[in-house]
């Protein structure tokens, strides 16, 4: 009987999870779904993840101070990557809505944006993992800086959507 109670509780919890997914998809108020892009200072982010900057700090600071400063920089970079990841999610939604437009050009651009924004989102995930690893070994690992140009590209494509849909 104990097994039945435990399994029944697990099943109820899982059914509740499924119900929540259905509710989120069909009954959630529309205004909650429309998110805004978070402003990101990419110049500052590039600076934080620039290997030259890291090399300069390593050469001019004592090891202990370098590690402390590098940890602070990595923490800041993590905040930027998290914001970029959030923005990538908004761009995915934007691309999805464009994908369903009747205009074939806008729809094709929407498909492209979705794919690139998903890639950006996955890159952000891997970058966050790498940054967490770099926090543990700040003297050995430098944070990645490959995200910025991907983000720029998707944002420009999304910005061009407006012009295409208006045309």
């Amino acid at each position: 009987m104990t097994a039945l109670i435990i399994l029944a509780s697990a099943v109820v919890a899982f059914l509740f999870f499924l119900f929540f997914q259905v509710w989120r998809r069909y009954f959630r108020p529309a205004e909650v779904a429309a998110a805004q892009l978070i402003p990101v200072d990419l110049e500052a982010f590039e600076n934080l993840t620039d290997p030259e900057e890291v090399r300069f700090l390593r050469n001019h600071l004592p090891p202990q101070q370098f590690r402390a400063i590098q940890r602070t920089r990595i923490h800041a970079a993590k905040v930027y990557v998290a914001a970029l990841s959030e923005n990538a999610g908004v761009l995915v939604s934007l691309g999805q809505s464009a994908r369903s437009q009747p205009d074939p050009e806008v729809a094709a651009a929407g498909v492209d944006i979705v794919q690139r924004a998903i890639k950006l989102k996955v890159w952000c995930l891997f970058s966050l993992l790498q940054l967490n690893a770099a926090l543990l070994f700040p003297a050995r690992m430098a944070p990645t800086n490959g995200i910025t140009h991907r983000y720029l590209l998707v944002t420009y494509m999304a910005a061009n959507l407006g012009a295409k849909s208006a045309a």
Binding site: T2, A3, L4, A8, Q36, L37, S93, Q96, A159, S165
Partner: protein, 252 residues
């Protein structure tokens, strides 16, 4: 044939016939291309039903042959369901083969961990009450079903993480799979906990759940994708503002 038998046969036969209808609508609406594993699963389920029904009609349910075929078919269904979950997980990355492979490896790792956890969980539950259980294989099947619930949750979290809205049919498949995989371990637990005179109730409950699941798949195979998202309401303005700002930065 009394009413109870009629209901039992109805819940056994009707969902499997409806599976063919789901497959037909998938073909008609061009969904087969997007979900080839799910389509194969529908055909497999129908064929295994035909086989089991034939054996049942010829020999009866309790023969060793029926039990062997049933076990084999359940194993096949579970393998297919893991394939469908992988299909749902990888669907957002359909156009990017390297990324899809990388994420598939991560999913496989997560699946392996979930299977081990489920085996420990289900094994520990049945260890104390079912030492003389005749079909130890069913415990493994229950554990795999429990693991599938975990993988399905991963699929939902994955789409949520990407900010991606599942297609209507993919969502229907996922919810249906969740109901089927979630209720099976419960049905098995019920079957060993209830007195012998109620032995049909867990089976009926599972078959009724599966019937609901197939109706759900049928509905989503028929339903047209309705986009309620307002394209104009999307924050295009803020995107444009940010793009202009980014342009200013990169031209410095």
């Amino acid at each position: 044939m009394d009413f109870q038998h009629f209901i039992w046969f109805y819940f056994w036969i009707a969902p499997h016939l409806l599976l063919l209808a789901v497959a037909a609508f998938m073909l008609r609406n061009g969904l087969r291309k997007g979900f080839p594993v799910f389509f194969s699963y529908l055909i497999f389920e129908f064929l295994q039903f035909c086989l089991l029904f034939a054996v049942h009609s010829y020999q009866g349910v309790v023969t060793p042959l029926y039990a062997k075929i049933d076990m084999f078919c359940r194993a096949g269904s579970i393998a297919f369901r893991f394939g469908i979950l992988q299909e749902l997980f990888e669907s957002p990355l359909a156009d990017n083969v390297p990324l899809r492979r990388a994420m598939a490896r991560i999913l496989n790792l997560g699946t392996a961990v979930l299977v081990v956890l489920a085996l420990v969980f289900v094994g520990s539950l049945y260890y104390s009450i079912l030492n003389d259980r005749p079909f130890a294989g069913y415990v493994v099947i229950e554990a795999l079903n429990a693991a599938q619930c975990g993988v399905l949750a991963l699929v939902f979290f994955w789409h949520r993480f990407l900010g991606l809205r599942m297609s209507s049919f993919a969502f229907g498949i996922a919810v249906g799979m969740g109901l089927a995989a979630g209720m099976e371990p419960f049905g098995q637990a019920l079957s060993v906990s209830l007195p012998l005179q109620y032995f049909r109730i867990p089976g009926l409950l599972q078959m009724a759940t599966y019937h609901v699941v197939v109706l759900l798949w049928l509905y989503f195979a028929l339903a047209r994708e309705r986009i309620t998202f307002d394209f104009k309401a999307v924050p295009l303005l803020s995107v444009r503002e940010q793009a202009a700002e980014l342009g200013r930065i990169t031209h410095l």
